[in-house]
């Protein structure tokens, strides 16, 4: 056991005894050597950040870190920051297996090669740092089990919300809290598009095209704008917060393609902003529950109206934010850049510091990467979730229309909170905006199906859920 030297934090680097470390890490170690796979945007960001701050980081944690090797697809690819030629290789196997590499950083992305890399390293007993949300979302259960089996930790701060330390916050800072509500703006591309649609009154397609031109959206934007990227992140956060594994298929996802400038405008007039939210909410136990001990959790991704006065409404542009309500701590919010080479590198450095400390002290399992603490919990189908609704209909401007619509809602026990028929719209077909009281999504779907069949309703009704953070 390493004994505490009062001066150990001052950067004096003696040989460190790491009796608890496994395999190649056993013995003495002057520095923690990093083998990295992936030298693209995030990878080169990590190299650059360590070039800039390695001395500072070392003096803080009392052990030096050094990147010893970076495996890349091709040696001469363009990179946001240069990486020294002498560090580069195209042989990831060599990087993972080299006994001189104490920590493996996986930054290749995707779920095939990345999975092989992470599993190979964990099976060698090496700690792994990853920023790969798609991989964790799809295979987290298997990866965490492998990590536990081989006494190696898997660090993943960078996988969700970039520079925002939401993983450390949920696992450590809020360890004494039951997380009752979590709302995340976790996709910067969508938030950028919605912010510009709101500010400029522009349409989705125009802003998307501009965002693609400016590099804020990919040429193939579906991963972002259809909500799948947010789904990966929300799956990880939900699993962590509630302690049972949430699979991507259990998460209801809607993107932002269907949102119009008109809806954003009407929402604003009513005092609301529209944000794409990841929502993780502990539902009240049903009156006659079959699983009285098991928590029922809403886990979904959809655009929602939120009050303009809410702190999440002020999160604009490419920024991310996660609003967390704990049963002890109350309401909290964490805000920062959710992506990009530098913000993500900051999260990777945080994980590398934890990995280095866990090697130094032989404490791989000190904070387990994933703890199944609510094993009896389950994801509730969205149909069972109650929300409020904003509904926009295009209706023929004639008597009896409202009666017909109200009747279909009443048949599903859905109350109307307010009705707005904006002035200044001419022609036979006029928009009507309805704000509806709490109702189950099942009831709402049924009512909308009925309403859309009315002869006086033209086109598909627009429905956006309303989140009041109650």
């Amino acid at each position: 056991m390493l004994r505490c030297d009062p001066n150990w934090g001052w950067g004096a680097q003696k040989a460190l005894s790491v009796p608890g470390a496994r395999g190649s890490l056993r013995g003495f170690m002057d520095s923690v050597n990093i083998g990295m796979i992936g030298g693209g945007t995030v990878g080169s960001g990590v190299v650059h950040a360590l070039q800039q701050n390695a001395a500072l980081l070392s003096s803080r944690i009392g052990i030096p870190l050094a990147i010893r090797r970076v495996a890349v697809k091709a040696l001469d690819e363009p990179r946001p920051y240069p990486i020294k030629k002498s560090l580069l290789t195209t042989d990831w196997q060599q990087v993972v297996h080299d006994p001189q590499h104490h920590v493996i950083v996986e930054l290749v992305g995707g779920t095939t090669l990345a999975k092989t890399i992470v599993l190979t390293a964990l099976k060698l007993g090496k700690p792994v740092v990853t920023a790969n949300k798609a991989l964790l979302s799809a295979h987290g259960e298997e990866l965490f089990a492998t990590a536990a089996r081989h006494g190696a930790n898997l660090y993943y701060e960078a996988s969700v919300a970039g520079g925002i330390p939401i993983i450390k916050t949920l696992r450590e800072a809020f360890v004494g809290n039951r997380i009752t509500h979590l709302y995340g703006i976790v996709n910067g591309t969508c938030n950028y598009i919605l912010t510009r649609m709101t500010a400029e009154g522009a349409g989705f397609a125009d802003v998307l095209a501009d965002a693609q031109r400016l590099g804020y959206a990919e040429a193939e934007p579906s991963l972002d704008v259809d909500g799948f990227d947010a789904q990966h992140k929300v799956g990880i956060l939900a699993s962590l917060a509630h302690g049972f594994w949430v699979k991507p298929a259990q998460i209801h996802v809607e993107g932002i393609r269907h949102l119009t400038a008109l809806d954003i405008q009407f929402a604003a007039r009513l005092g609301y902003a529209i944000k794409l939210l990841g929502i993780i909410k502990r539902l009240p136990a049903p009156a006659r529950s079959k699983t009285p001990n098991g928590a029922r959790i809403q886990v979904s991704v959809y655009p929602a109206l939120i009050p303009q006065s809410h702190v999440l409404a002020s999160v604009s542009g490419v920024f991310n934010a996660v609003f967390v309500r704990g049963d002890i701590v109350g309401d909290t919010l964490f805000y920062g850049r959710g992506a990009g080479k530098d913000a993500t590198a900051s999260a990777v450095l945080s994980d590398l510091a934890d990995a280095a400390l866990d090697l130094k002290f032989g404490t791989a399992g000190r904070v387990p990467p994933f703890v199944p603490h609510e094993r009896a919990g389950a994801v509730a189908p969205l149909a069972e979730v109650h929300t409020r609704y904003f509904v926009r209909l295009n209706v023929v401007d004639q008597p009896g229309v409202m009666a017909a619509v109200a009747q279909r809602l009443a048949a599903q026990q859905i109350g109307i909170s307010s009705i707005i028929q904006p002035e200044g719209h001419e022609g036979d077909v006029v928009p009507i905006i309805l704000m509806l009281h709490d109702a189950s999504n099942r009831a709402m779907s049924r009512a909308l199906a009925q309403i859309s069949r009315l002869r006086v309703v033209k086109g598909a009704p627009v429905m956006i859920r309303v989140e009041n953070f109650a």
Copy 2:
């Protein structure tokens, strides 16, 4: 060394070997026993939070926690949450010395008895958790040195910004960042008063009286409204962020007593909110620096105009927020309740979990409580700091006044950005608002002294600094 059992997180509680623990902690331990001193607001909050979530916390960290004894001033004091009689004692010495108490929690407040308690526990090699910002601000250097000398850790998440995990974030999540800017709304009482003054156009004294009636301000409000509470917290954050000890006397402090509804109103018209900010800012190196390697840091507490569009401007009521800019991560914000029994208890539980894990793994110095990583740094006197300014003067409404004022500013090389003479003010004396460009606080003080001596200027000039987060 405890080896990692893949199931260890599941809550199966075997006897835990703690070979690295000292003194009374050596040997086997079924549970981490807590001895607490202080059973008031926060103390009873911690007892209540553990009653509610001890099982959850244990299942997450793999070791049970139990409060074994609470030392209080009087057994029959009223408490926000009840504490079982069998836990109470009035003998703090017994609680600290009892070899069955593995962790000591200090929640008595103040800087005299609290200091004795913390030093006594640390000298016994026992980890200490404290929420005491006044104590750390005044005696942190001595306490951290004692902790290091005795191989016991001192945990203090609850000392700054209540439920916001800003200590863990700076020490661990942002370990790879140089913190270039930190702006904190860290006093809930001041933020509540300013929020209501803004919303209602009310005066300071009226809102303060109401806040006292409602329990948001103390009968003796000076600690809060004169900025001293914020000073304690900002001293801790500055020391932690920059790695050299910042003493309270080095921190320039202004409170909010002098702010008027009129200034808040004019600020709002110009697009600004007024917030009491703790400001920690790395200053650019001067052209001919005597200490080229030493960072010069602004550390101050004062009310400032901030753009209404900035995310800090949306922090209202008793909430706290800390805005942190790191050289890698970029801009981030952390928001939550800064005080109160529950939010503070959440931070204490986080520290207790870390203390329990450090006992379990024998890693007292894993993350040192304070690391002097920028020893060459120094606090810059406010006179040397450059800011922008909002200035309100009451002037006699006659020709030549503006020329006289402008001349005094020009003599100090201070440029005028804009001048507003609001309409609707009648009589001989009218208000003038000046927005001034960047200038040193020394130059500004000199200019204001000159201006206040002008015969046409009535009363003392009002000066509030402007923060643009550049």
